[in-house]
């Protein structure tokens, strides 16, 4: 069973990494989500014993480890919150740059910086002229 868990987590992580490397911003978010699921699965796989639900412990029954389930729940909640944050951020970027592609965001940034450079150069020329 452990091998199955390990393989599943590894495949999830691989899919996530592949998505994160995409240029599309929404896929980046999805990649982060999938990687977070890989982490949650690993938390569950790390449980020390498997058995009956721990909610109603009967004598002489093996219980599943409640601690790793509690950790997985916490991780899911935190993952959801940061995913929401990340999505909002992507939305802000998409409205600011009018695009959902990382490449175009980078291009836009380069052109913004070029404008700044020009402004600086002009200012410098002005001040040199004034000095003369």
């Amino acid at each position: 069973v452990n091998l199955v868990f390990a393989l599943a987590a590894a495949i999830l992580f691989g899919i996530g990494a592949y998505l994160v490397l995409h240029r599309d911003l929404v896929r980046l978010v999805l990649g982060v989500v999938v990687i977070s699921q890989a982490a949650v699965l690993t938390l569950l796989a790390a449980s020390l014993e498997r058995g009956a639900p721990a909610i109603y412990p009967l004598p002489r029954v093996t219980l599943s480890d409640p601690l790793s389930q509690a950790m997985a729940l916490t991780a899911i909640v935190i993952g959801m919150a940061v995913t929401a944050l990340l999505l909002v951020l992507v939305l802000r970027v998409a409205t600011a740059f009018q695009t959902g592609q990382l490449e175009e965001v980078a291009e836009e940034e380069v052109s913004l910086e070029a404008q700044l450079e020009e402004a600086h150069a002009e200012a410098r020329e002005d001040e040199e002229a004034a000095a003369r």
């Binding site: 994160v20 977070s36 982490a39 020390l48 790793s68």
Partner: protein
């Protein structure tokens, strides 16, 4: 015990309340200062107990010991908590003295303080993760403070990279639980010695990657320069002065505290990575043309010293890492807050920061450099790299001064900074000179902090 609870409760409650208030009003920003001040008082009270009577341990929710989550304040944690809340307070006072503000700023910074204090005082690795994530979540929002398009792009990269880092951390936490069957740091440290070495090395690598991303060490630094240069100065000061401390603390706590065997095994690799960081950061900082870019690359270089000190190890090495982190946080906060201003006083502050980064007395930077030298004195190669790094930092530090203060003002008439704009950097400058002139307390605190790590007792 009360002080420990208060250090978390005060900023927690205040942060939530402040979040719904409008921080564009100066009164609200001063309220945030008061909340952070209250946290500082609680932390100082806690520190006095910790340094005189030993660690303070508290189990949450009245659970029996061994079942409940433990909060554990020892010398190392308290030192880092004080440092981080101190720099946060400086940044908020600076912002409160200014005129512009943003609605959520005050609440977010106070919540960041909760995350940091909780991270440093947690005695349970999963609880550490939760507070770590809280601190990061607030910093993601702070990173886009200002909301220009450039900040948004940088903030997205910052968020995505650091999220991936925390998931790597979570994977290591799961593995620790699997291997040792506990999450309590003290017991993890005991049981780790009996663990399978292969598993322990994998766990150690996971922790190292997670904290290196946070620190911005050389191969993991790629997100750092864009974020530090495009963020507002006050945010850059917060990120480099308090949030980055988590990285140094994590390496000390998890490396030297929980996995001392693996740390020793990897000592050579750590020193090489640290040296690469020092040289890379220094060379790139020299090649930059604006003050904020230089500071960003200088941050990459400066954390290299911390890693070298941890790699050297032993009581001297860990103490050096603590001293260097403290001094570096003070330097970076002061310089980022003073960056972009003009005037005689600001020029003096920048010059002092430059001296401190380069390690010239009487600024406190030389205490940090001296500690690293002392720790590494038996390894001539390390001393050579550290010296090279100091030379590079001397060059770029004075380039900052040259670019910001010798070049004639572009365009509009030069506007001198008013006292409100340099009061906080000036106070920090006073602290830096004070620590440089009288470094004994700093060294004593660092030695006490390093002494709690099992790796420090040979």
């Amino acid at each position: 015990m009360t002080a420990l609870s208060l250090a978390l409760l005060i900023p927690w409650v205040a942060g939530v309340v402040l979040l719904v208030m409008d921080a564009r009003r100066a009164a609200v920003r001063w309220l945030a200062v008061a909340a952070l001040g209250g946290t500082m008082v609680a932390l100082v009270a806690l520190a006095v107990t910790v340094f005189t009577e030993g660690p303070v341990v508290m189990t949450t929710g009245n659970w029996p010991v061994g079942v409940g989550i433990t909060m554990r304040a020892d010398a190392l944690g308290v030192t880092f908590a004080l440092l981080s809340v101190g720099t946060l307070t400086a940044a908020v006072v600076h912002e409160a003295l200014g005129t512009v503000g943003e609605r959520e700023f005050a609440g977010l910074v106070v919540l960041l303080a909760v995350g940091l204090v909780g991270t440093f005082l947690s005695g349970d690795i999963f609880n550490f993760y939760v507070f770590f994530e809280l601190a990061l979540a607030t910093s993601y929002v702070l990173a886009v403070y200002g909301r220009t398009p450039r900040v948004l792009g940088a903030g997205l990269v910052f968020t995505a990279v650091n999220l991936l880092g925390t998931f790597v951390f979570l994977l290591s936490v799961a593995s620790v639980y699997r291997v040792t069957g506990t999450l309590d740091m003290a017991r993890v440290a005991e049981r780790m010695a009996a663990a399978d070495p292969n598993a322990a090395i994998l766990i150690a690598v996971g922790f190292f990657v997670a904290f290196s991303v946070k620190l911005g060490l050389f191969p993991f630094h790629f997100w750092l320069p864009t974020v530090y240069t495009s963020a507002r100065p006050v945010v850059a000061a917060i990120l480099s002065g308090s949030l980055a401390n988590i990285g140094a603390y994590g390496l000390l706590r998890f490396g030297a505290g929980l996995l001392p065997r693996e740390l020793e095994l990897a000592a050579g690799a750590l020193i090489v990575i640290g040296a690469a960081s020092i040289v890379y950061g220094g060379v790139l900082a020299v090649s930059r043309e604006t003050g904020s870019e230089m500071l960003a690359y200088s941050a990459v270089g400066q954390v290299g010293y911390v890693l070298v000190a941890i790699g050297v190890g032993g009581p001297a090495g860990f103490a050096a890492a603590v001293v260097y982190t403290i001094v570096n946080a003070a330097n970076k906060t002061m310089l980022f807050l003073a960056a972009g201003r003009r005037g005689v006083v600001v020029g003096g502050i920048i010059a002092l920061g430059a001296l401190s980064i380069a390690g010239v007395p009487p600024a406190a930077g030389y205490v940090g450099k001296l500690e690293v030298f002392e720790a590494a004195i038996r390894e001539p190669a390390i001393v050579a790299v550290v010296l090279l790094g100091s030379l590079l930092s001397l060059v770029y530090a004075f380039q900052i001064y040259q670019f910001e203060h010798w070049r004639p003002d572009a365009g509009a008439a030069p506007r001198r900074a008013r006292w409100r704009e340099y009061a906080v950097p000036l106070a920090l400058g006073g602290v830096i000179v004070g620590l440089g002139v009288w470094p004994e307390p700093l060294a004593a605190v660092a030695a006490a902090a390093a002494a709690v790590l099992p790796g420090a007792t040979p």
